[in-house]
Symmetry: C2
Subunit: 254 residues, 2 copies
């Protein structure tokens, strides 16, 4: 049983400030992962306020130029510092977690993953170590440099590792329509989703809820189901890991 | 012209203490790199006192077990913090440098590199960015976990990138015989080297001078020359990068 769990940057950080972590939320997430740990778990987290502002300031989405090149390191360092907090919190909760940084092992082609080195991740999973990856600034074969969102990363890892289940822990109760949670979505609903979703609050250079759902819809079409749920609600991560979550939006192909 | 330059941990840190950097030495090394920067340069640094002590305490060389698993993160974090100092110093000297962490992109097989993901490094070089790698703790397909020395990394990168020249900046004047520098070594001299070299001072789990020379001898046999030189002597890094270094030990195949 291979599980990919993403915890959104909005859960771990205050997206409206620059590099502002929520240490209590990070510690709680780590405790929940520890409580319901399964042997083949990959954790991915968004950058939240660590990285998005830097990426925007240096216009990393424009590709490589004399200005953006100066923004790669500060953007990478910002999200790496959030990653270190997450990994440390997991270790303090007794989880053998290790950081894996996309800038080191991944390249994009025009914003989409062209290659990601899976060997270290696979080896960690065999040793029952939880690899902890994150949205990052990454070299791009077409544009020089680009942004890899945690959501694209989740979809890539789910395919590469033939995951059984994907969980997307956000700060809302699921995919919403007029304030109510859509209980189930199928790839056929993509047009509907396009029309109902508006952008998230705060700065997010990677596309907010729509980008997230588009990645998951494609995944569902390939037989990998996912659940978008509220990870700010204590207990939900434990329930998701135990396959016992009765809320959120299920995105599946059947 | 592709150049691999390794700066030994002994140049950047005090190997007899735990996690003690030499900030002035790091800044000077960065200035020298900046002064003689060539477009395709890869920098590798040793762990020095960042990582060796942790690796020894947790017996990472024994492979993965209940004790060593707790040492992976502290060892990786220690050398990563040295790496951050080196990258920051380079950036402050105007060099577009980025970190690349072997734990993320490399696996060993019984202590030897089985696979290293070169894509990100290659892309950085094309963008005239200097990738900065380091000795690290790395997953191992045979032993679970192992230590990747900066020296093995240098040899691997030199082959993978078909490097033209390799520089090994240490805290001595070259390979020494009775206190005098051996000016030239060829692969045929390997037995002689075995007999004259004794271990370096301080703790070094990766083999000291002998391991270094064995890697370089093999490389020389494949047509990639290297120079072991004193990187504590101001100006030597500039001279090496400009191919104008008249001292040290040249290890070449012809």
């Amino acid at each position: 049983m291979t599980i990919i769990l993403k915890i959104g940057g909005s859960v771990l950080t205050d997206k409206n400030k620059v590099s502002a972590a929520k240490p209590e939320a990070i510690a709680r997430v780590a405790r929940e992962v520890s409580e319901a740990l399964s042997p083949r778990l990959v954790l991915v987290h968004g950058a939240g306020s660590f990285g998005h502002h830097q990426a925007k300031e240096y216009r990393l989405k424009d590709g490589l130029n004399d200005w953006s090149i100066k923004g790669i390191l500060p953007t990478h360092n910002a999200v790496k510092s959030l990653n270190a907090m997450v990994v440390d919190a997991l270790q303090m909760s007794g989880v053998d977690a290790l950081p894996v940084h996309p800038l080191s092992n991944c390249i994009l082609n025009n914003g989409r993953i062209e290659h990601m080195c899976m060997e270290a991740i696979t080896r960690m999973l065999r040793a029952e170590i939880v690899p902890v990856l994150h949205g990052d600034v990454v070299m791009d074969t077409a544009k020089g440099v680009g942004i890899l969102s945690g959501d694209q990363l989740v979809a890539y890892l789910a395919r590469a590792l033939k995951a059984d289940r994907v969980g997307i822990g956000t700060n809302v109760d699921g995919v919403l329509r007029n304030g109510s949670v859509i209980r189930e979505l199928k790839p056929a609903n993509i047009r509907e989703v396009e029309s109902i979703l508006s952008g998230s609050v705060g700065v997010d250079v990677t596309g907010g809820m729509y980008g997230k759902i588009a990645e998951l819809m494609a995944l569902a079409g390939e037989g990998i189901p996912s659940v978008v749920f509220n990870a700010e609600k204590p207990g939900n991560i434990v329930k998701f890991l135990r396959d016992d979550l009765a809320e959120g939006t299920l995105i599946s192909g059947d």
